[in-house]
């Protein structure tokens, strides 16, 4: 190499070298992450102190767990006998004895297999939605699952859920018939209106009629007998499944240029977001019957689900609107320029990207929805957290028990919510294609 004057030409290229090995291992990590500055030292000490305090108080209580006892008094006796006068400990015996009630509420005992089967089938139905490696044909089962699940849980004539499913087929046929005659907009309206009319006025009589010819039925279970986690799951999963599509439609409505659609969407979203969920639940339990044709006995769980869906949908609509706003205009223009119509552009270009951006917000809404299912206690349904726990504590055996049921219920909620949150992170990393 020539270094004697200021011109410089490299004659050989430098090979790649390994990065220098500085100090490594635990000491370095701790110095960088825990003790890098006086403030950091202080925070580390305080943090460790807080954790230690908690552990020191809870660990003994947890370590003195009792699993076998018939009542709280017996529990206390066992603990005192084992650990001496005045010792306290966790009495998990209550969970051991009452777990069926936590899971099924007052669902008839000899029918427990039905919610269990419904849950297993739910997993089958959800799997292809969550993991796209599974065969796409499984999605057909996912589509009819709501009817299957409904029938298993509530029982009654099989023709009721079949008639409900038929509504979708009727909507599809109506759209196909109207489209060539009157164009896309009227076809869309027909696709919405005919099924609603069918469900409101014809589905019931039709199901009855078929049932009188061909009775296939399961023993029916009334909604008031539901309780515990099957109630939370029924409301939670139905809410999640229906609020997402409704939220997408509302978000699109809010973006629409059509005056009425736009104002209705905005009004709906702002109204729902401005009102506490409990208000909606009270409305569901008291008022909704006034709006329906007289004589319809509208199921309380169904009413609650409708309110929960509307509530979550309004939030999801706003989350998705954020995703839509983050998309550059160029994406819409490119889709237009290629000749894609509005719905195709939305489905193939806009929504996949907007939803991807919105995943964290959507999943947060879902988690909130799932936990909010415990609020149904205010309309007299037996949610696992307060409804069932109060029922358990009302018995003489378990009067006065406090922490254990709440910890148990909280843990189960945590497992599902944490699962959702992990899944959302998995999905985000899987869908990451921008390589920025």
């Amino acid at each position: 190499m020539n270094t004697s004057n200021s011109t410089f030409v490299r004659t050989e290229m430098l090979p790649q070298k390994a990065p220098p090995i500085t100090e490594a291992g635990a000491v370095k990590w701790m110095r960088e992450n825990l003790f890098s500055s006086p403030l950091n030292v202080l925070l580390t000490v305080l943090g460790v102190g807080a954790v230690a305090y908690l552990v020191l108080h809870i660990a003994p209580w947890l370590s003195r767990s009792v699993w076998n006892a018939a009542s709280l008094t017996e529990c206390r006796q066992i603990i005192e006998a084992r650990y001496g006068e005045g010792a306290t400990g966790a009495c998990w015996a209550v969970i051991r004895e009452r777990w069926p009630q936590y899971l099924f509420g007052f669902y008839p005992q000899h029918l427990y297999w039905r919610p269990v089967l419904a849950f297993v089938l739910l997993c089958v139905a959800v799997a292809p939605v969550l993991f796209d490696k599974l065969p796409r044909k499984m999605l057909w089962f996912s589509l009819i699952y709501p009817a299957v699940g409904f029938w298993l849980l509530w029982g009654g004539s099989v023709w009721v859920p079949v008639a409900a499913l038929a509504g979708f087929a009727i909507g599809y046929v109506a759209a196909q018939v109207v489209k060539p005659l009157a164009g896309t907009i009227l076809a869309t309206i027909a696709a919405v209106v005919t099924p609603v009319l069918w469900w409101l006025f014809l589905a019931g009589p039709a199901a009855d009629a078929v049932h009188s010819v061909l009775p296939i039925a399961l023993e029916s279970v009334r909604s008031r007998e539901f309780g515990g986690f099957i109630l939370a799951f029924t409301i939670g999963f139905t809410g999640i499944a229906f609020s997402l599509p409704l939220g997408v439609m509302l978000a699109l409505g809010r973006q629409s240029d059509m005056f009425i659609v736009n104002k209705l969407s905005v009004g709906f979203i702002e109204f729902i977001r401005g009102v506490p969920l409990i208000t909606l639940l009270f409305t569901a339990s008291l008022l909704l019957n006034y709006f329906l044709p007289p004589g319809t006995d509208f199921d309380i769980i169904l009413r609650v689900i409708i309110m929960v869906v509307l509530f979550a949908a309004a939030y999801i609509a706003e989350v998705i609107r954020g995703g839509l706003a983050a998309l550059p205009r160029g994406q819409y223009e490119a889709a237009d320029a290629l000749g894609l119509d509005y719905w195709k552009a939305q489905r193939l270009i806009i929504m996949p990207q907007a939803l991807k951006i919105s995943i964290p917000g959507i999943v947060s809404t879902f988690i909130g929805l799932f936990k909010d299912t415990t609020l149904v206690v205010f309309v007299g349904l037996l949610d696992p957290l307060k409804g069932i726990t109060d029922a358990v504590r009302a018995s003489t055996d378990w009067k006065g028990i406090y922490w254990e049921p709440y910890i148990f219920v909280g843990t189960i909620f945590f497992i599902f919510c944490f699962g959702m949150s992990r899944y959302s992170m998995y999905l985000e990393s899987k869908l990451k294609t921008d390589h920025r």
Binding site: P328, G330, Q331, E333, A334, D336, A337, L338, G339, L340, D341, K344, L348, I349, P352, Q353, K356, L431, T433, D434, H435, R436
Partner: protein, 262 residues
């Protein structure tokens, strides 16, 4: 700039039919109260290659975006391939499927692979079977010289490669007219050439092209007409040789001196 152009094709040798591809008469457009396009009259014959230039804000983008109705005009008439652009959605869809457009910022779909970007519109708009659409897509990817990138995502490609993919994506719809809105102005100099080469090749095949660009080398090499716009109106149009060597209006002279001056 003109160094970027490798070949020089003689525009006079390329055939221009007298069939009209685009006819714009007395077209006016406003943004609110702002009069962006004023009394635009313009006829483009099939096979013509037109370069539109002019200072920033003069309405070039707006004009070509009116041709596939990404913008709506308020007065006058635009007829593309015999179809008049009105608010009738059928006509708009028809025109859009005949007219390809390439944007300054590529506007590829980042969530789809290159191959999916190319086959999306043929499959969903033209209803081409997937396999056939993929064959066509690969054909055009080879043509823009990046068939090996088919499985990648747009974010993994360089700007020049992305713009060539964008051109291929438009071509997959077999358009009869191509619109380009400053296709090279977001690119580094060494990438400009590869995109211009692709465009020149298209021109040689007789594609009707409207191109907003400041690549004057490209204009001289392939255009049969250069249109100069200022303040929303067409100020001057002429064959490239005349336009560059003998500009008529003072505005054109000023513009050319600024753009070619240094």
């Amino acid at each position: 700039m003109s160094e970027a152009i490798a070949r020089h094709i003689d525009p006079s040798q390329m055939k221009v039919s007298d069939e009209v591809a685009i006819q714009i008469t007395q077209m006016n457009k406003w943004y609110g109260t702002f009069h962006v396009l004023r009394d635009i009259n313009m006829t483009v014959n099939r096979g013509e290659r037109i370069v539109i230039c002019g200072p920033s804000g003069s309405g070039k983008s707006t004009l070509i975006r009116c041709i596939n109705r990404l913008e709506e005009h308020q007065q006058g008439q635009i007829i593309v391939d015999g179809t008049e652009l009105t608010s009738d959605l059928k006509n708009i869809d028809k025109v859009r499927s005949e007219v390809g457009m390439v944007f300054q910022h590529f506007n590829l779909f980042p969530h789809l692979t290159i191959l999916e970007n190319l086959t999306l519109a043929p499959i969903w708009v033209r209803k081409t079977p997937k396999k056939e659409a993929e064959e066509v897509a690969m054909h055009y990817l080879r043509k823009v010289k990046i068939p090996e990138q088919a499985g990648k995502y747009p974010g993994q490609l360089s700007g020049g490669q992305q713009q060539r993919v964008a051109i291929a994506r438009s071509l997959c719809m077999k358009p009869r007219i191509m619109l380009f809105d400053e296709p090279t102005s977001a690119l580094d100099p060494e990438m400009i050439k590869e995109v211009l080469d692709t465009m020149i090749e298209l021109a040689e095949e007789g594609m009707t092209m409207l191109c907003v660009t400041h690549e004057m080398g490209f204009a001289q090499a392939v255009a049969n007409r250069v249109i100069f716009m200022d303040q929303g109106q067409i100020v001057e149009q002429n064959a490239p040789k005349e336009f560059f060597n003998n500009p008529q209006s003072d505005r054109t002279k000023l513009f050319l001196s600024q753009i070619l001056g240094h």
